[in-house]
Assembly symmetry: C2
Homo-oligomer: 392 residues x 2
DNA sequence: GGCAATATATTTAGCTTGTATCTAAATTAC
DNA sequence: GTAATTTAGATACAAGCTAAATATATTGCC
């Protein structure tokens, strides 16, 4: 502890401005009287704070509404509204093969989106960054947003990321990418890039606009070729020492199942063994589900095995973390609905504290939604330190 | 959000007083100049804060030391010291069969200790409370501490306890006990009782004065008849929705091992199968270790199985939480040292992020140490709200 | 013993942010 | 047009902090 930031009178203004801004952000429009009731401040202080926020560009004063049949007595209140276009945020989903960028205003409404693919898995970092940058610029253009007014960029990658946004160095590939991406986007556009694990962002997204809204103890399983968990406890993301919390690739070994890519491996086994009525095509989860729906015994058996596997994984999470809810997301989510009854029925056999299990409604957007939320969290936490660029 | 506590000028004093008090608590003695450097406040403010803390009884001003050969130039600084006897805390370990109470001063030095046993497992709550209360009073008497000056009581029980200190209602027995204990001690002595899960307290203790000092991502396994984990992530205890985080009784099922009491079960199997050279006596972990040390093959095989079992459990924790360190505590800890090399060697087979594994040095005191720490945390967080009773 | 040097303590004036209270302004209802 | 109502703004003052000037207690040197 070299210098534990003394609390000066300015701290009060910061705290109170944050509280006022938080409320205005959540409401359509707010009046001084409302803010007094909410913050406990006097009118004088509330007005002073609002003037302050207006001069900083975070809120705007609205005109009086043209009396829509609900006449209010007394002097009309000044109406303060959050300036949702004070700036923008970017949310990136950077996968192994593709990348997606979403632009959102400060309320989180996505107003632009664009994707790009990597030519190959082993392209140089510079080219990778170029693809990501292009997706960002295209998304911004689609949104009609000036790149200079991007306040933060949330980016999800399929690798462990620690609390400080550093990629675990054991993963050479991602490590190089990390360093390049952050400094490149900083240099090209001046953006602050917040790296996070994709499953962690999925958890943020799910709690924000998915099936876990308002759930403080939430786990999101991002299941596809890889199996990652985003764990929130008491509303906070868990990272662990090196950011590898939720990296369950190895969990199979603990359970003695074998291969480390779980569901995809089971599907491949099934396909290799001849598959069902739809045999012949490439192995895919939707095919299994389709065949099972058609009554194919082999496909049904696979579904049973997958259900039990998922139940065991969820149960081990339940024993260690005791979440209120587990959300299944990622590539398998669209088909996973059919598995829910089976999983739910099995859970009590494996854990004393079975969570509610649901399927993500966010589809492909689960990581970008979380990335947007992550960037917004940063902007909201640092609102009073950020200098807003003048609107175009 | 009915009323989000406005930040008034008084808040500044609270914040600064907390910072000053925190430093004085950690140091032997502090001067104004030191506190200025540390907090960033001016001398005038530091002195004002100290005067305030003196009047509240939290710190005392010491006389000048009688120059022990190190002469200091200039006007001698006023010397402020933490008043470690401003009050006391109690730390309780309430087990199924016995209970232990420890009294500590506000620096955490234990100055009194006492234990008691329950006559039977099914005695009425009132009798149970009586045993606990007696242990508390005896410990206080041994410490020469006035029960009226106990500022908080930390209590560990072998049941899930949620963030608010409520016992999970599915556990009827503990639930009744909970309500009775808290209100009884409040009524008898006016004490504030902070209930926590025993494994969670073990984690607090281990991070405070055990083998995990300074480790923010720490898991403590409290292993004996029961297996519980206390999980700290980023320096915070994990509870989960109902406080059942770390309740791993069921984890065995997930792994397909079978019985839920792990090590103890293995030892019993061994004993039932004839045991080693020390055969005949009751099954016990120390016997297995002694026989293994004597070269007995059956005992060695059991140790191998136990090691692998522990490694699998630790690996599943590592995959989900990624702790920096896992500490083995509880009844098996005294013998567990011999298992460490085996466990450590196995871990990389089961997880990509193996934690450091150590054995607790705290022995029986692991839970009471954590209970004391828990009570101190409460006192430190609420120092400026607590009215200190006048010293005897 | 007296005096400079040094480090700390205390005092005074002023800034920021808050509260409390009084007066002014803008609107509706009659 | 006037009263009632609600919000805005202004004025006085309190808490807490900073900054700068002044006072105090000690060491070290002559």
């Amino acid at each position: 502890m070299p210098h534990a930031a003394a609390a000066t009178p300015q701290l009060l203004r910061r705290v109170n401005a944050q509280a006022v801004l938080r409320h205005i952000r959540g409401a359509e429009v707010a009046t001084g009287t409302e803010l007094m009731a909410l913050t406990g401040l006097t009118r004088a202080s509330v007005i002073a704070v609002c003037e302050d926020l207006i001069s900083r560009g975070w809120i705007v004063e609205q005109d009086q509404p043209t009396d829509p049949g609900n006449p209010r007595k007394g002097r009309p209140a000044r109406r303060f509204a959050f300036n949702r276009e004070a700036g923008f945020v970017l949310g990136l989903d950077i996968g192994a093969a593709t990348t997606t960028a979403a632009v959102a205003d400060l309320r989180g409404t996505v107003i632009g989106r664009s994707s790009g693919s990597f030519r190959a898995a082993d392209i140089p970092a510079q080219e990778r960054i170029g693809v990501v940058d292009l997706a960002c610029r295209q998304a911004l253009e689609a949104a009609g947003a000036d790149p200079g007014r991007v306040l933060a960029v949330g980016a999800g990658i399929a690798a462990p990321v620690d609390r400080d946004g550093n990629v675990l160095v054991t993963q050479r590939f991602w490590s190089l990418f990390d360093v390049g991406l952050r400094s490149a986007l900083k240099e090209l556009h001046g953006w602050t890039v917040l790296l996070e694990n994709d499953a962690n962002l999925a958890a943020l997204g799910e709690r924000w606009r998915g099936s876990g809204v308002g759930v403080d103890d939430l786990v999101v399983l991002l299941a596809g070729e890889r199996l990652g968990a985003g764990v929130m406890e008491s509303g906070r993301l868990l990272h662990g020492r090196g950011g590898a919390a939720g990296e369950m690739g190895y969990l199979d070994m603990v359970e003695g199942v074998g291969s480390s890519d779980g569901i995809a491996a089971l599907v491949r086994q099934w396909s290799a063994a001849g598959g069902g009525p739809s045999a012949g095509g490439p192995a895919s989860a939707p095919r299994v589900f389709a065949d099972a729906a058609a009554g194919d015994a082999a496909a049904l058996a696979i579904l049973d095995r997958i259900s039990e596997r998922m139940a065991r994984v969820i149960a081990s999470i339940a024993s260690l973390i005791n979440p209120e809810q587990v959300v299944i997301g990622g590539a398998v989510a669209e088909s996973a609905g059919a598995l829910l009854p089976g999983i739910t029925a099995l859970l009590p056999r494996f854990t004393a504290t079975p969570p509610r299990v649901t399927v993500s409604p966010l589809g492909d957007a689960i990581v970008t939604a979380g990335a947007v939320r992550h960037a917004l969290d940063y902007v909201e936490a640092h609102a009073l330190e950020l200098a807003l660029p003048a609107p175009a």
